[in-house]
């Protein structure tokens, strides 16, 4: 097999992780176009839509791989299915036959209503925009900002956790102290303070989420690092004169991944809640582009009437199902990791 021989160019450890490499590649294939698409804010319908095309098979492939690996745990598979459903929607929504999510057509159409030649499966909102279309489009922003923010929080949290755990001493004292200070703020207060100060935008959400989540991640990684650094292989690395950075990233980091992956799934759920809440409060993403938090906020007044409650229920159920998906995945993964 040609792909497992060590290539001269990259004789690193990664060169041999074929399965891991394929998964990473697929994830990048989903992630990069999707975030580029959302963050650059291109108008739908242009040629930019086609950059999402390769992501569709990538999502399906990822789903199949994960399904095969996790099939023992129906909880994990259920969570995976929910998450992958929304992921698939996010990358394929430009190609679906939907109304323009921002175009007012006919206000206050209840679900299953037909007006003229248009059929509104989930009705329209108070401005007359199609709710089905807005819900499906809305998942893009929630997923992209939620996952990106979590990722950044993890990078920062893991870095500081490794530093505190492996180097100990003053590093640990200072990092842990700062972490404790941040943890002592109620999360929402921290969010509101940061976003009020920096102004509401997607990037500032990342900053806020990082400040709120990184200390907890740091603590987990620090604890794991404290345990792992007493292992003989770390001792072996030290005795052959490896630098602390090398030990942290090559010897320690790959071995903290198990508990971290479980925690990451849970935290994705929290972050999604946080982002939706912030948008609901008007501190997050700004109108008019569709977003679940925004939809709930906009429909909050009109949805007081039972007849129009669907405007609120549809995005609320969507966000719940995504969070449920993340949580079930975390649950299933933990269950599997405990089993063997």
């Amino acid at each position: 097999m040609a792909d497992i021989t060590i290539e001269p160019a990259a004789p690193s450890i990664l060169a041999q992780l074929t399965r891991t490499r394929i998964i990473a590649l697929l994830m990048a294939l989903v992630w990069l176009p999707l975030s580029a698409y959302v963050i650059s804010g291109v108008t739908p319908g242009g040629s930019a839509d086609y950059m999402l095309l390769p992501s569709i098979p990538a999502v399906i492939l990822l789903y199949l791989i994960a399904f095969r690996a996790w099939r023992e745990s129906w909880v994990a598979v259920l969570g995976l299915s929910l998450v992958c459903f929304w992921l698939l929607v996010a990358v394929s929504v430009p190609f679906l036959p939907l109304f323009d999510p921002n175009k007012p057509i006919a206000p206050f159409q209840i679900p299953f209503a037909t007006k003229g030649e248009n059929f509104y499966l989930l009705g329209t909102d108070y401005k007359g925009r199609d709710i089905l279309s807005r819900t499906l489009w809305g998942c893009q922003r929630v997923i992209v900002w939620g996952v990106t923010a979590t990722l950044v929080a993890y990078m920062v949290g893991m870095l500081f956790g490794l530093l505190a755990g492996y180097l100990s001493g003053w590093w640990d004292e200072i990092i842990s102290f700062l972490g404790n200070v941040l943890l002592s703020f109620p999360v929402m207060v921290l969010f509101i303070v940061i976003l009020n100060y920096l102004g509401p935008s997607g990037f500032n959400i990342i900053v806020a989420v990082t400040f709120a989540s990184a200390p907890a991640i740091m603590r987990i990684v620090r604890g794991l690092a404290l345990d792992i650094k007493t292992r003989d292989y770390v001792f072996a690395a030290q005795t052959r004169g490896e630098s602390p950075l090398w030990i942290m990233f090559v010897e320690l980091l790959p071995n903290v991944r198990g508990p971290i992956i479980v925690d990451a799934c849970l935290r994705l759920g929290y972050t999604t809640v946080a982002i939706t809440t912030l948008t609901f409060l008007g501190l997050g993403l700004q109108p008019p582009d569709p977003d679940w938090g925004l939809m709930i906020r906009e429909s909050a007044k009109t949805a007081m009437l039972f007849k129009f409650s669907y405007m609120l229920i549809v995005p609320a159920l969507s966000v719940s199902s995504l969070i449920l998906g993340f949580n079930l995945m975390a649950d299933g993964l933990r269950e599997m990791s405990l089993r063997d």
Binding site: I6, S12, Q16, R231, D232, Y233, F235, A236, Q238, T239
Partner: protein, 741 residues
């Protein structure tokens, strides 16, 4: 003689675990008859099903374990038919169990006294006061000093040896008929182990409790048991009286097991160990017919793999000696076991490593809130002074806390010496942390670690971990050549080449340890420190790894520092031995000098403590009293004075002992005069005549009023008591003058 009912009888017992992969038979066709007062040993390697038997007897196998067929009769009653309630009454009162990890058997949140008192309160409904009184008596019986203090402490406040005594006391409180001991001393130090074994034996003598002693250590079984069952891959392969089995092995596995342990007389050059080839089959991949077949020298197709093998009675041996070997009558058992390939003796060359008066002290601060507390000095290493020559094996022997790990850390540069010198060649490195050493210096000094499950990073492939060392030390830098060198190294440690692509979790313990050795030798070191490299491995694997290490060492002319607590391994492979106690070298000399008198009193005790699986070996029993003192507060004068049986009050506990030069390389740190030292008798004597050997053990037999063969062992009981009375100056831990100024 009346027919006695066996305390425990297992008849054709089959136990399986039910997992997702299906039914996994853990124990197949197991038979055992345990008479009152008898001690049976079950010996075998990990995964052979010995602990499963114990759990089945306790009827405590968890959700997925089940007795598939056969019976377990406790005093004639089938335990399978008992109700949950009856079983609960039985456990802890009639049947008691002692586990391997004492700390895990005690509740860390409860006082020792409360935990002990629970037993009589629950089983006999006595009052709390009465229960505490009984607990106190029992603690005195297991020879714990100051029972009152121990009753009122929490488990973490007492030492490991004391914890295990508490666990044994707990097991004995209800006066059980049957005591199950599952590796009760494996987690303990050798001298502590010896005292616990002594205790177990005495208890069995006094109370007439039957015992099942599970161990992987043949020597311990020999010292404690009357009968032995050797298990392999879920089956009992040989069982019989300890003497019969040890002197007349009638199963190839038993022979292989004995061939792979270093008994006195084995020699690394002339008579190397013979390991059993191959590996233990997985429970669901057992071969047809004899489980040992694929590893057996006497395997004969069509006979050994035809059908399941039955137990057969061994002819010409005592009654009750059975073996599960189809070819028992075909094999010439008297022919000595195939000899290992002898090595040429490499003469030691120049001094490579010179340690000169090296001292390592740690300063620790008592952590107190707000104020920095009193500073304390831990004297981890005190005036370490020895050298090692090229191609020589120097063993550093000592129990936990003797400072051998600290010493290794100083050598490796993870710590720096407080004073003194460590020279590698002409290069001083005692004060040079590893970051400041050159790649060349680092590669000259490498280490093999103890725990095979920790030695490799589970996230990286075997090949990449070895390759990293090669690149780091600049042996090769061209990727193709690095890869070649990795494969070469795998050849050297006798692993298949495709292991380079494997992850550590796909390897067995022995294989991991081989990779660890390959990694240590990747940079062509001149000195290799091996920190108990085989102590965590199974017996048959130990021999293979030890031999491999010796082979590579001989081939490369490497100097090896072999850190160990196991004197039998050390005797086998070391050229010179350094005995350490509490950070100081008590004695050093060639292997012969250490193993024959004059001894340092600590060496003497250490030698006596190591169990030897040979009926021809006679040992003087010296049991150390008391516990290892803490390194933060070592005794004044001689560090060993608190436990030494030759302790001279007013001298040993006040003045540090002088270093005596007994011969050219033989040095002893002791107050005793040369005459006193020279007058010591050898601890281990190998006897030719097998007639006398029975006396060495079987001391407990005299009390047990069992079947006929036990009558002749009367004199042994007297012998057991003798060595203790013979000690010239008898001081116990209590007598020592208090040192609190």
């Amino acid at each position: 003689m009346t027919e006695q009912i066996p305390v425990l009888e297992c008849r054709n017992l089959c136990i399986s675990y039910f997992t997702r992969a299906g039914e996994i038979p853990a124990v197949v066709d197991f038979n055992m008859r345990l008479m009152p007062g008898e001690a049976q040993g079950i010996v075998g390697e990990s995964g052979c099903g010995k602990s499963t038997v114990a759990l089945a007897i306790m009827n405590y196998m968890g959700k997925n374990g089940k007795v598939v067929s056969g019976e377990i009769l406790f005093e004639g009653r089938d335990m399978q038919k008992m109700s949950e309630e009856e079983l609960r009454q039985l456990r802890g009162s009639r049947i008691a169990m002692v586990y391997q990890e004492p700390m895990a058997s005690l509740n860390p949140a409860m006082l020792v006294g409360d935990q002990l008192a629970e037993v009589p309160i629950y089983h006999e409904g006595v009052s709390k006061e009465e229960a505490w009184n009984r607990a106190r008596d029992m603690l005195a019986k297991v020879k714990l000093p100051e029972p009152e203090r121990i009753l009122n402490s929490y488990p973490h406040q007492i030492s490991g040896g004391q914890q295990q005594r508490v666990v044994i006391a707990m097991a004995l409180l209800s006066g059980p008929k049957l005591l199950l001991l599952d590796e009760p001393t494996t987690a303990l130090d050798v001298t502590v182990e010896a005292s616990i074994v002594d205790l177990i034996r005495e208890i069995a003598d006094e109370s007439g409790t039957s015992m099942i002693y599970i161990s992987h250590n043949l020597g311990l079984i020999l010292e404690t048991c009357d009968r032995i069952t050797v298990m392999y891959s879920g089956e009992a392969v040989e069982l019989g009286d300890v003497d019969a089995v040890f002197d007349m092995m009638r199963h190839p596995y038993t022979r292989g097991l004995f061939g792979s342990i270093p008994l006195p007389g084995a020699d690394k050059n002339a008579r190397p160990l013979v390991s059993i080839p191959g590996q233990l089959p997985l429970p669901h991949e057992r071969p047809r017919g004899c489980n040992f077949g694929p590893r057996c020298d006497f395997f004969k197709a069509g006979v050994c793999d035809a059908a399941a093998i039955r137990m057969r009675q061994v002819r010409g041996s005592g009654p009750g000696h059975w073996s599960r070997c189809e070819r028992i009558d075909d094999i010439d058992w008297d022919k000595p076991i195939a000899e290992g390939v002898s090595r040429e003796i490499t003469a030691p060359g120049d001094v490579v490593l010179k340690v000169d008066n090296m001292t390592k002290h740690y300063e620790i601060e008592e952590s107190a809130l707000f104020f920095s507390g009193e500073k304390k000095t831990v004297k981890a290493n005190e005036n370490i002074d020895f050298d090692a020559r090229e191609a020589e094996t120097v063993a550093i022997v000592g129990e936990s806390g003797c400072g051998k790990s600290t010493f290794a850390k100083v050598l490796m540069g993870l710590e720096t010496a407080t004073s003194g010198n460590v020279q590698l060649g002409n290069f001083e490195l005692g004060h040079l942390p590893v970051q400041k050493r050159s790649a060349d210096t680092i590669s000259k000094l490498q280490m093999v670690f103890q725990n095979p499950f920790d030695t490799l990073n589970p996230s990286h492939t075997v090949g990449s971990q070895i390759a990293r060392v090669i690149r780091k030390f600049g042996v090769e830098s061209d990727p193709v050549k690095v890869q070649e060198r990795v494969l070469d190294l795998l050849d050297t440690v006798k692993l298949p080449r495709d292991f380079a692509k494997r992850r550590p979790r796909q390897l067995s313990g022995g294989q991991k340890q081989r990779v660890g050795i390959a990694r240590a030798f990747a940079g062509n070191p001149s000195v290799v420190i091996a920190d108990e490299p085989v102590s965590a491995l199974d017996v048959s694997v130990q021999a293979a790894v030890t031999e491999l290490l010796m082979d590579i060492q001989a081939e490369h002319g490497t100097t090896m520092l072999f850190i160990s607590h196991d004197l039998s391994v050390v005797r086998y492979l070391a050229d010179r031995i350094v005995v350490m106690y509490l950070g100081q070298i008590m004695e050093q000399g060639t292997t012969d000098e250490i193993f024959s008198p004059p001894y340092h009193p600590y060496t003497e005790a250490l030698l006596s403590a190591v169990p030897i699986a040979d009926t021809h070996v006679k040992k003087r029993r010296i049991v150390l009293e008391g516990e290892l003192p803490s390194a933060t507060n070592p005794p004044e004068g001689c560090p060993f004075s608190t436990r030494c049986r030759y302790m001279i009050p007013g001298t040993c506990d006040v003045t540090p002992p002088p270093l005596k030069q007994m011969s050219a390389g033989h040095r002893i740190l002791c107050h005793l005069t040369d005459d006193e030292l020279n007058a010591m008798e050898p601890v281990i004597v190998i006897e030719g005549a097998p007639s006398e050997k029975k006396e060495v053990r079987r001391k407990r037999k005299s009390v047990a009023q069992g079947a006929g063969s036990k009558a002749k062992t009367q004199p042994a009981a007297k012998r057991a008591a003798k060595p203790k009375a013979a000690s010239p100056v008898k001081t116990t831990a209590k007598d020592k003058p208090s040192r609190s100024k």
